[in-house]
């Protein structure tokens, strides 16, 4: 199968391209990036042909699928163009930055008969899978509450430009845990309360600290800290943890704890080096399998929409200083 990557603007594109190179049946034939340096670097590293304009890449007849990893707010036009060109789409998270954008993307892919998958690699992370297995096996009894963190250092460039990113830390880091909550517990997030602010990186035009307290349809509650609160000297990019409290115990999961410690005198730095792959390879495999078997991908555009709505509700709650009901659930219930 021949595939293309639309934009290396998101840092995850590098990881996806590395995974593709390790897949014997997948060929990365084209990379589009309006930044010539970034495009040329990617092509030099991973092969394929560089296009300045993604629309020229989409004109490739033999391309079956594309991975879109442009800045969040540009997902809509690229996904719609890819769908119109008949390419299946794996879209980076968050799926979009507004509800109309996400709905248009879902509808556009449906109308053109192409598959749309939202890139939530944490669903394929072995520690997350072990957590889900433990919870579903009743290891802690009936699950009642979750405490989650998805911390990070401050990401570079457009991530802190609200026009391109649709928000800051909340938009960037809420969607992973929101998706995992929906997936592990099999129900929607119904209400969100949040405190959101810019305090760690004064002067950036978006939020960098936040705390969310959410309610799920099944009566559980879950807190999330999505802050970009890790200092530059932190030994790794950040992490994702989930503690699930049940009526018979607690299971604590640290998704990025499989690391070794490196003390580097030459760099003047202590760092944690992961010794596992993470969820990317299995996520990409699931996307290609869905295309080959003409099946619905395991993570849909609707999944991306619901996770994004939790982030939007957090922003709304922080403005109003009260819990906000998730509109997606209401719309779903009405339908």
């Amino acid at each position: 199968m021949k595939v293309g990557i639309l934009s290396f603007a998101h840092v995850h594109a590098q990881g996806y391209a590395r995974c593709l190179a390790a897949m014997p049946d997948i060929e990365l034939v084209a990379i589009a990036d309006d930044d010539e340096t970034r495009g040329a670097t990617a092509v030099a590293q991973f092969g394929g042909e560089w296009y300045a304009d993604y629309r020229d890449l989409l004109a490739h007849d033999d391309l079956a699928a594309v991975i879109i990893s442009s800045p969040n707010a540009l997902h809509r036009e690229m996904v719609l163009a890819a769908a119109a060109a008949g390419k299946h789409v794996l879209c980076e998270k968050p799926l979009a930055t507004t509800r109309p954008d996400a709905l248009a993307m879902i509808e556009g892919c449906r109308a053109h008969g192409v598959r749309l998958m939202t890139a939530f690699p944490m669903r394929f992370s072995p520690p997350v899978l072990a957590l889900r297995t433990a919870v579903q096996a009743g290891e802690v009894g009936t699950p009642r509450a979750v405490m989650a963190t998805n911390h990070g250092t401050m990401p570079p460039g457009w991530f802190s430009d609200p026009a391109l990113a649709g928000g800051g830390a909340v938009m960037d880091h809420t969607v992973h845990v929101a998706d995992l909550l929906r997936w592990i517990f099999g129900c929607e997030i119904t209400r969100v309360y949040a405190e959101v602010d810019t305090r760690i990186h004064p002067g950036i035009p978006t939020d960098d600290v936040a705390l969310l307290l959410m309610e799920l349809e099944n009566g559980m509650f879950a807190s999330l800290d999505p802050s970009w609160a890790r200092p530059a000297t932190w030994p790794t990019w950040g992490g994702l943890t989930m503690d699930v409290v049940g009526d018979r115990g607690v299971v604590a999961m640290n998704a990025f704890n499989q690391t070794l410690q490196r003390y580097d005198d030459r760099a003047g730095r202590y760092s944690l080096i992961p010794w596992v792959e993470g969820g990317d390879p299995a996520m990409l495999r699931a996307f290609f399998d869905a295309i080959e078997h003409d099946a619905e991908p395991p993570i849909t555009g609707e999944d991306g929409l619901h996770a994004m709505e939790v982030a939007l509700c957090a922003y709304e709650s922080a403005k109003r200083h009260e819990p906000v009901a998730c509109p997606g659930v209401l719309a779903g219930a009405a339908a």
Partner: protein, 340 residues
């Protein structure tokens, strides 16, 4: 020599008796407990007199300071009677179960001209005290987000009154109040609180668990976790700011771990790791209070401070019950006393 009466010979009574015994300027003269055997056992260990009649101990001429370590709802009555006898009072946390009781205790001690302090001992744990010093020295720049956690097994398994929310206030008023008080010490008063807990939503009796989101008047946001759903004790704190981050986790600071070669009997035994200190925080706390008594100065944790921390805990509790955030007006969290 400061002469001390311990009222309540339970876990905390025994800890404070040991501290008084260790301190060079203090001696335990009386132990009172409704359980005659328990009072006698503790009294014997420190060569003190035992009684089942609280007023005998409170009114004794050889008592300067009363340490109150009875279940929370009885703090008020004993404190008021101790103050009326002209004794200084050191009361375990929380100061009381209700704001009305807490205010009455503060007023009684003021009226009698005696000192009142409350055992918010985390301020005397060296790691938490060091964080306070570091924050005052601008160690992390502008603080953005703080996280505090305190997890333990359910104390109701050992002492049933903890399991009665009307008495103990549950995990929020009894346990989370430690971190609420410490965060107030670090960051000042709270503007807004929203919280959820299991005790208010569970369909069957289960261990207490609560999560709270705080917004301080100075802008800091904080996440507080308190649990009686875990198997053993641990606490942690993390403070992220514009210039760095401070973090402590008790599990990562253990300096001594004793393991016995496994045998069938040993497998069931709970191992308690520890971080030994020259002086334990409970003793530091009492030494500090006794120094205030001798010097006639104000202790770090005044009755008023304890009232504010109790108010915050009750605001957290009320939010879990109403599902609504609790807001402050003119710096005071607006709680409905009858709702909590």
């Amino acid at each position: 020599m400061i002469q001390i009466a311990i009222i309540g010979a339970g876990t905390m009574g025994a800890i404070h008796a040991q501290s008084c015994h260790n301190l060079p300027n203090a001696t335990v003269t009386w132990i009172a407990d409704e359980d005659e055997g328990r009072a006698a056992t503790l009294a014997q260990a420190y060569n003190a007199r035992a009684t089942t009649d609280v007023d005998t101990a409170l009114g004794a001429a050889d008592v300067d300071v009363v340490v109150v370590t009875v279940p929370t709802p009885f703090h008020r009555a004993i404190t008021e009677r101790a103050a009326a006898c002209g004794k200084h009072v050191f009361c375990e946390k929380p100061i009381a179960r209700t704001i009305a009781d807490a205010r009455a205790m503060v007023a009684a001690c003021e009226r009698a001209g005696v000192l009142l302090s409350v055992g918010h001992v985390v301020r005397f744990f060296p790691e938490y005290a060091r964080i306070h010093t570091l924050l005052k020295g601008d160690a992390v720049g502008t603080v953005g987000v703080a996280r505090a956690a305190r997890l333990n097994a359910n104390p109701a398994l050992a002492r049933s009154w903890y399991g009665n929310p009307e008495w103990s206030g549950g995990v929020i008023v009894d346990l989370m109040i430690h971190d609420l008080d410490t965060l107030r010490w670090y960051f000042g008063e709270v503007e807004r609180v929203y919280a959820r807990s299991l005790s208010s939503t569970a369909l069957q009796p289960i261990s207490d668990y609560a999560l709270a989101v705080l917004r301080f008047t100075n802008g800091v946001i904080a996440h507080v976790e308190a649990s009686w759903a875990h198997a053993s004790f641990r606490s942690s704190i993390e403070i992220a700011g514009s210039a760095g981050l401070l973090r402590h986790a008790s599990e990562e600071s253990n300096t001594i771990r004793i393991e016995h070669t496994a045998s069938e009997e040993d497998v069931a035994r709970v191992q308690v790791p520890s971080s030994p200190l020259l002086e334990g925080p409970y003793q530091t706390e009492l030494r500090h209070f006794l120094a205030a008594v001798e010097a006639g100065t104000s202790p770090l944790v005044t009755g008023e401070e304890a009232v504010r921390s109790l108010t915050l805990a009750l605001a957290v509790l009320q939010s879990t019950r109403t599902g609504r955030p609790i807001h402050a007006t003119n710096g005071v969290l607006q709680i409905a006393e009858d709702a909590v």
